[in-house]
Symmetry: C2
Subunit: 219 residues, 2 copies
């Protein structure tokens, strides 16, 4: 049985390694966990003894097979709770993570199974990130930033890059959220600004920075 803290380290290692592809160095993990590099070394040693990570001194760390499953398990719970918070309790995007980071550590397979069922077995969380299944399988969905799609393309907003509170608030204000249908109607040559029609109703202009951070699925 892992502690909350160990689960959080595992999740951070998994994320920073881009789903286990590369190995993570101590300093970036320390920054992510808001802790001292020395603490990271200590913790990695413990996780290594528990066979949750692959680790060689001075060589960085990565999740092991067991560790990856555990990490995906926590991520699954995190994302399912987010769906609940948004769909049932009307949480705003910027209020989600603080609470979901507590709820994700509740240990009860029955709870998460029933919650999943109650929510209709969602496949994506409110930020458009896919929800791993009970076995840790991830169904990746193609997602492209608006900047990389040609004029004329229509799609559903399935996610955003980054999650700064101010960005999420901006999206809320202009009426863009997960599930919103957008059509790219024009792109200015000079700066890359894009005109998009929101749900077929109003058309607004978004900056290239915003366009880069809104992900559309090819629907």
């Amino acid at each position: 049985m892992l502690s909350f803290v160990e689960e959080n380290y595992l999740k951070a290692i998994y994320h920073l390694s881009e789903a286990g592809k590369r190995s993570v160095n101590t300093n970036s993990l320390a920054e992510e966990m808001k802790t001292a590099p020395a603490s990271v070394s200590d913790m990695i040693k413990r996780l290594s003894e528990k066979k949750m990570v692959d680790y060689q001194k001075y060589r960085g760390v990565n999740v092991s097979g067991k560790g990856k499953i555990k990490a995906l398990h926590v991520i699954r719970q995190h994302r399912i709770w987010k769906v609940f918070l948004v769909e049932k309790l009307n949480f705003q995007w910027d209020q989600l993570d603080e609470v979901a980071e507590q709820l994700e550590h509740i240990k009860s397979p029955l709870l998460i199974q029933r919650l999943d069922e109650f929510l209709g077995f969602p496949k994506f969380d409110p930020h458009g990130d896919p929800i791993p299944d009970e076995n840790g399988q991830l169904i990746e969905k193609r997602k492209d930033p608006i900047t990389q799609l040609p004029v004329g393309t229509a799609g559903i907003v399935v996610g955003v890059n980054g999650s700064s509170a101010s960005f999420l608030k901006y999206l809320d204000k202009v009426g863009i959220s997960i599930g919103t249908r957008l059509q790219i109607v024009d792109r200015m040559e000079f700066d890359g600004s894009v005109d998009v029609t929101i749900d077929g109703k109003k058309t607004i202009t978004i900056s290239p920075t915003v366009a880069e951070n809104i992900l559309l699925s090819e629907a």
Copy 2:
């Protein structure tokens, strides 16, 4: 900010003192917390420094004003989560406590406020225990065990004493739960067994022990 463990001690002290009426001795608290008496002494000292309990060496301990509010806060969250688990996720009575004891410690006023609203501001949990309001106010409801009510009385099941898994399972099996309407139709002189009609449909005989542990409200 109190830790999970501190919150659990506070809750236990509150319960054992019968809502702050008498003071609690170290051994019973140790038993309740499944820990050594020495650990209890240590913890009480800490809680006392934080002004959450009133404590004099060798004289027992009790919740302070601050501590009582904190305890009721945790109890409120516990009971609201139980309502959620039963009403939305179809949990059985005997699966409730393990999960609710984790969920009760989630720190988010917004979460519990929204959850309360989502559930329609319930006043009682699935065991019939009253839910304190945000200020820690408890609306106590008269509850009498079946053994203490005369033949002919009808009422709603609003609670049960004790919560052994086997007892709760028995109740489930015979079709008794919170909200069930019972009428006392007969009481055997020789052993105190009671015949009760369940929701006006079938009549069953229950043992005096069972009768003593089912609480009816005078509805």
